[in-house]
């Protein structure tokens, strides 16, 4: 979604990038994370330190698995968004900026999908 007027777009003034979309998509993820975070705490917190069989049993329930997969997907995207804003605010050297943004994206997508894979593997293991 673009908030630029047609004239603004044609003469190329105003925001040159996608600040409004970034801002809006951050809010969409933040709203989604309200119920998902509550689900995450209820499902995961009691399992830290629990026996392996209990953890497996928990994720064999599709509702738990789906909620945690959704949570991980939105959380790591939200994390990438948030870290990007922090880097934009404090890192002013171009090479460091680009390096950190890339690193952030790689780490967030890497760990996000690794977590999703792990939950899916637990859910599908019979």
């Amino acid at each position: 979604m673009s908030f630029k007027t047609d004239k603004g777009r044609v003469i190329g003034l105003g925001s040159a990038k996608t600040g409004a979309q970034h801002w809006l998509s951050e809010r969409v993820k933040a709203v989604a994370l309200i119920p998902l975070t509550l689900a995450f705490i209820c499902i995961i917190a009691p399992l830290i330190g629990a026996e392996h069989s209990k953890v497996v049993a928990k994720f064999q329930n599709p509702i738990n698995a789906i909620l945690i997969i959704l949570f991980l997907y939105v959380t790591f995207k939200h994390l990438a968004d948030g870290l990007q804003v922090v880097i934009e605010d404090y890192v002013h050297s171009k090479p460091a900026f680009i390096t950190l943004i890339l690193l952030t994206k790689f780490i967030c997508y890497g760990f996000g999908f690794a977590g999703i894979f792990a939950v899916a593997k637990l859910a599908f293991s019979a």
């Binding site: 991980l72 994390l79 948030g82």
Partner: protein
């Protein structure tokens, strides 16, 4: 972003010049907890991967997260998560245009601080009841 050394325009007043306020300080800590939670979630993913690998490796990682240092990081992350959660809700309230009166803004700050500790304690009680 400024254009580096060639840009000599003065920056607007920043953290160093403002008197700390409830709203600004609690908001800064939303950012701090958000960045810190990166570690917590990396550890949770490690724990999930371990659970999906083998019971033996899971026991190792599970033991790591429930060592005294692991518990410190996990409980710290839990507090940070509740704080960031409540701070996020406050920012969404502000985004909708409510809660800008100083009294309301201050009160939401106190709710965030008190609520984050309260919810952390309640979660720990819930964990105790579940196990």
């Amino acid at each position: 972003m400024t254009n580096g050394p060639t840009d000599t325009r003065p920056l607007s007043p920043h953290l160093t010049i403002y008197r700390p306020q409830m709203s600004s300080m609690t908001s800064i800590f939303v950012r701090v907890t958000g960045v810190a939670l990166t570690l917590g979630f990396v550890l949770i993913v490690w724990w999930l991967l371990a659970a999906s690998s083998s019971p033996a490796y899971f026991d190792k990682v599970n033991g790591c997260l429930t060592s005294w240092f692991g518990i410190l990081v996990m409980v710290g992350s839990l507090w940070a998560l509740w704080y960031h959660f409540l701070g996020g809700v406050r920012h969404l309230i502000w985004d909708m245009g409510y809660g800008f009166e100083i009294k309301t803004a201050d009160m939401m700050g106190y709710i965030m601080i008190g609520g984050s500790f309260l919810m952390t304690a309640l979660t720990l009680v819930m964990i105790g009841l579940c196990s």
